[in-house]
């Protein structure tokens, strides 16, 4: 078993005078899938933002074996899609920004947006807008995926396809960490935030 890519030691975070979580200890390896669960306001989003370095106010240590930013594919709580831009333009921008490679149209087709490439995102339903962001998962070149609520507002078959995609990626050695309310997928590592934070492999 190779060395962990991510090591979290004694992580704790407090927000407006409330301890979200503390003494959090876990380490994740390439090819693993981690699911972060917890109630609303438990701190899932906050945890992910700490991991990707967006949130800097915490105790404990977060160590990445290899430099994160070139390897990171981060999908936030908001899809990061601008309504004024078309699906294609949105994806093109994020591809350029994150330095990914791969075919835009193929990626858009993979998330069932074929035929909607040139519709302003504002005209699409919430679910479709999230799909635009998810299309990045079908582009190449990232080894650490950190996804906040990737399954929300996605219909049944979409969920299946996405789950499938995550497993493929993991099989190719990508470290996947995502949050979710409902415990979709099994055989994945779980990290539950709540009164008694627990890690189950």
């Amino acid at each position: 078993m190779d060395a962990p890519r991510l090591t979290v030691r004694q992580l704790g975070c407090e927000r407006d005078h409330r301890m979200l979580f503390q003494h959090l200890d876990f380490s994740a390896r390439n090819g693993e899938i981690w699911q972060v669960t917890g109630a609303n306001g438990a701190g899932k989003t906050t945890l992910l933002r700490i991991l990707v370095g967006l949130h800097g106010f915490y105790d404990g240590r977060v160590e990445w074996a290899a430099p994160l930013s070139p390897a990171l594919l981060y999908l936030g709580h908001q899809p990061g899609v601008r309504e004024e831009l078309t699906a294609r333009e949105n994806l093109e921008y994020s591809r350029a920004l994150s330095g990914q490679t791969g075919d835009l149209d193929a990626a858009l087709a993979a998330v069932d947006l074929y035929g909607f490439e040139d519709v302003p995102a504002g005209r699409l339903s919430a679910g479709q807008q999230r799909r635009i962001a998810l299309a990045r998962l079908w582009l190449d070149g990232k080894a650490v995926w950190i996804l906040d609520e990737p399954f929300t507002a996605i219909d049944q078959q979409g969920v299946a396809a996405l789950d499938q995609r995550l497993r493929e990626a993991a099989a190719q050695g990508v470290l996947v960490i995502y949050t979710s309310h409902h415990r979709v997928g099994d055989g994945v590592h779980r990290l539950h935030l709540g009164q008694n934070t627990e890690v189950t492999a």
Partner: protein, 228 residues
């Protein structure tokens, strides 16, 4: 792992920002409109006596420009932040200064520049002698980029908390004072028929300073607002 080249990011960002502003023309028109309205307030508040107006004109135009730029910046990062695009930008590999700079440039091109272009018209309406109008335009042209950059720092720091433009104003306006002093000063000097080269040079120097350090500060401000 794959990191993009600076030029890729730059071109992509610039193209995107321009498209964004272009798609919502209100963001271009409204600051301009505001500028015109505020300037027209002065003849109504002071007397429409040409002699007096000409004296007030430089100050009036400049104060209006200040406020127009400041208010136009209020929404600079808001929609990016709400849509989550800002986090994308901050977590992207490479320095976030590049896309930020692109954003500022785009914003200035489509809001600051127009202000400079119609400034002479307003100057004329405020009875400025025609000979001075070009100086007015140049001064605004040199001033607005600084206003944009400096204001953007404020906008970056206030992006998360949605408290109207007034907080931004309170933060930013004091920082605008130097530009205002020299900018309006240039025009007044021209009115007195004195050479303006030196003052324009000062404006240019301030601009250089702002443009060289500003974007870094803006990027930093965005990180801070994100919670880092």
């Amino acid at each position: 792992m794959s990191a993009p080249t600076l030029t890729t990011v730059w071109t992509a960002s610039l193209h995107r920002e321009l498209t964004l502003i272009w798609r919502s023309p209100a963001d271009i028109v409204q600051p301009l409109f505001f500028f015109v309205v505020v300037v027209t307030l002065f003849p109504l508040a002071l007397s429409p006596k040409p002699a007096l107006l000409a004296l007030v004109a430089p100050g009036a135009v400049w104060v209006a420009a200040l406020l127009a730029v400041m208010l136009s910046l209020d929404g600079l990062f808001r929609r990016d932040q709400e849509s989550g695009a800002l986090d994308l930008l901050l977590t992207a590999p490479g320095v976030s200064v590049v896309p930020v700079t692109a954003k500022l440039l785009a914003h200035w091109l489509l809001t600051g520049l127009p202000l400079a272009l119609i400034a002479p018209l307003l100057g004329y309406m405020l009875q400025l002698p025609v000979a001075v109008l070009d100086t007015l335009m140049v001064s605004v042209l040199l001033g607005t980029p600084t206003l944009t950059v400096v204001g953007a720092i404020g906008a970056a720091l206030t992006v998360g908390l949605n408290r109207g433009g007034i907080l931004l104003a309170v933060l930013v306006l004091p920082l605008y004072v130097p530009v205002l002093v020299f900018g309006a000063g240039v025009v007044r000097t021209a009115l007195d028929g004195l050479p303006t080269g030196g003052l324009l040079a000062v404006l240019g120097a301030i601009l250089a300073l702002a443009v060289s350090l500003g974007p870094v500060a803006v990027a930093l401000g965005l990180r801070i607002s994100a919670g880092d």
